[in-house]
Amino acid sequence: MEPPGLLAVKQQGYRAGDRGLKGANAMGKWLKCNQGAGVILTSLFTALLIYIELKPWAHRKLRDGFSLGFFPAVAVVLSIIFSLILIFDGRRKEVPSALETLTFKSGLSAVLAVVVSWAYFALMREIGFLIVTPFFLLLAMAALGAQSWRNTLLIASFMTVIVYGIFRVMGIELPLGILSGVLPF
């Protein structure tokens, strides 16, 4: 049996840990509410305003007397004002339903999806639409949970050909890449 003193210290530690966990949860929840979003947006727009004001071109006078940075600055100031409203208005504690279930992993997945899309585009330009697209579609469909590999591959290949055909008929060239000297069309 542990000495009462050690037990007490451990309990305090758990409580502190709980508080730490609760603190982290509370912070996470606050960041997701309108007020948290307002603070982040205000900071971003303020940084943008400072960026504009520090740029020499922003103070360049045009022939009609306006400075070049006037309208961008006005737009950013308006954005700051509306972000500040989010921080202070009566609905500041509301959490949008989509954010309630959002995790860091979800946000990362969104960025990853964009990165993968860019990679697809870069490869498509080099290797060719007809070769890269079926792989991209197949992998993306499988990653999202499509069940049958065979059906997915069929759909991916079929849609690649259909889309290529439609764009060709419209007179829009898609990159053929390494097939450009090979295919007659």
Partner: protein, 515 residues
């Protein structure tokens, strides 16, 4: 304003096999887009925009307007078949439509949705054809000051009426204004806000931006949902027999006529909602439904009656034509889809403005003809293929989302063959996704982005004319003072009475009443 030669030219433009072909293609694709939950009219139009580069103006309008009309109607197919709206504006159709389906009257409900959509759409198109030229005549008398305040009024209406939180709507509008200043200033044509990137010197390209916000932003949300569902035990989805859409009693003419009052409510409420920037088809549908329910309590709308379907579908489709009124009359799009159609017209060299009726009368009249002709095509496609689209609506999102990504990437790239357009598209996809999860409406961003150059140019012109006197420039005429006061009053009223919040809770309220 009435130009017989232009009308005849417009008929020649439209009544060609090419234009009619693209109108049919547009409607066929549009109904499919509408029937598939997760896709909206704006998404479909954004994805098809790149295809219009090589088309004639009339063909491009045929494709896009056909798609728009088809999508707004198509949402009712999924709403009735499996209680999932294909598009947000079809959500109000579920209450009565799906109940009718469960009572074995799916075919009747589907036909009612189709005929009410066509009726509301056609009559509102006539309103558009009558009103747009008249308003354009008035707008021609506007000077730079009046045009500036008109754009300010549009921005404030968009901001305060879009979404459920006025500050978020206004934030979206302000962000759109900022993005509209990237590139070059519209008067001096001097480069600004390029962040040192040479490829931003011509500004943000409209097409990739719209594809990013309206297509990729939504698809990213779908990706996150699907990835989350992968870890969860699969729900057994109730498979509604789509055969019910084909069997069962049809709709008699008497039953259709019986709902004339509800369709009329849908027509007027929908037309009003379509004309006002920031409201849109979803508000049109739910408001029409709510009004019909309040005005005719004995008809028990919500318990599975045709009148409920008629009000909702007439209400949402009646927004289609009128949403183009501010675009044609003032050059200010009334909705995201109107902004996309405006973008398509700009690509064709016919920039929407009050002078459009003078400079491009044949284009305007061909747009009117296509608005009307599109309803007949919609009628035919809906009548014959509703059952097929009900099945299409069950296409798994795991298949659909990657296809949309692919279309978005090649569409953005094929616009000018510029790889930075894909960068812009993907970046705005992330922005659009961020806005969606924060519940910041995206329509104000895109619309104000489009009209910012107009606003800035008119303000600077007004100041130039008045030699730098701000008071003279902004308040020299009763009309400009009136527009200024209207912006203040309407914005204050919208905020004071929490109009956007009330409009956004019309749907849950209706749901509560019907449960």
């Amino acid at each position: 304003m009435f130009q017989p030669e232009a009308i005849i030219e417009a008929f020649h433009m439209v009544l060609s096999w090419n234009v009619l072909y693209w109108l049919v293609v547009g409607v066929v694709i549009g109904v499919g887009v509408g029937a598939m939950p997760g896709l909206t009219a704006a998404t479909g139009v954004a994805l098809m925009l790149p295809l219009t580069f090589t088309m004639s103006t009339a063909s491009a309008l045929g494709l896009l307007i056909g798609l728009y009309k088809g999508a707004v109607y198509g949402g009712s197919i999924s709403a009735i078949s499996f209680a999932t709206p294909g598009t947000p504006e079809a959500a109000a159709t579920i209450y009565d439509g799906h109940k009718l389906m469960r009572m074995g009257q799916g075919r009747k409900a589907a036909l009612m949705a189709l005929y009410a959509s066509i009726t509301g759409d056609t009559l509102s198109d006539l309103i558009t054809i009558g009103l747009a030229p008249a308003l354009a005549l008035v707008a021609l008398k506007f000077g730079p000051s009046e045009r500036f305040w008109l754009v300010v009024l549009a921005c404030t209406l968009l901001g305060t009426l879009s979404g459920a939180h006025p500050a978020k709507g206004m934030l979206s509008a302000a962000l759109g204004i900022f993005i509209g200043t990237v590139g070059t200033d519209p008067v001096g044509m001097v480069s600004r806000m390029t962040f040192g990137l040479w490829w931003l010197q011509e500004g943000i390209n409209l097409i990739p931006m719209m594809i990013g916000v309206f297509a990729i932003g939504r698809m990213l949300e779908g990706v996150i949902e699907l990835l989350r569902e992968r870890g969860v035990a699969r729900k057994v989805k109730e498979s509604i027999s789509t055969a019910l859409m084909k069997s069962g009693p049809g709709l008699t003419f008497k039953e259709y006529l019986r709902t004339w009052k509800e369709m009329l409510i849908g027509l007027f409420v929908g037309s009003f909602a379509g004309m006002l920037p920031g409201l849109g088809a979803t508000v049109g549908a739910f408001l029409s439904y709510s009004v019909a329910k309040q005005v005719f309590p004995k008809k028990q709308i919500g318990s599975g009656v045709l009148e409920g379907v008629a009000a909702a579908e007439s209400g949402n489709n009646a927004t289609v034509g009128p949403t183009l009124i501010p675009l044609l009359a003032f050059g200010i799009p009334g909705s995201s889809t109107a902004a996309l159609i405006g973008g398509a017209l700009m690509l064709q060299g016919a920039t929407p403005s009050p002078r459009m009726f003078e400079l491009f009368p044949a284009v305007v009249y061909s747009l009117f003809i296509i608005l009307l002709a599109g309803n007949f095509v919609n009628l035919g496609v809906g009548r014959v293929f509703a059952g097929f689209y009900a099945r299409l609506g069950q296409l798994p999102r795991q298949i659909l989302i990657p296809l949309i990504f692919m279309m978005a990437i090649i569409g953005s790239y094929s616009f000018e063959g510029n790889p930075y357009d894909v960068v812009v598209m993907l970046a705005f996809g992330l922005v659009g996704y961020g806005m969606r999860i924060l519940r910041i409406p995206d329509a104000p961003l895109v619309i104000t982005f489009l009209i910012t150059p107009m606003m800035e140019a008119n303000l600077r012109r007004a100041l130039l004319i008045n030699r730098g006197d701000w008071v003279q420039a902004l308040f020299h005429s009763p009309l400009s003072i009136g527009l200024f006061i209207s912006s203040i009053i309407l914005t204050s009223l919208a905020i004071r009475f929490e109009v956007s919040k009330r409009l956004s809770i019309v749907a849950p309220k209706v749901e509560q009443e019907n449960s």
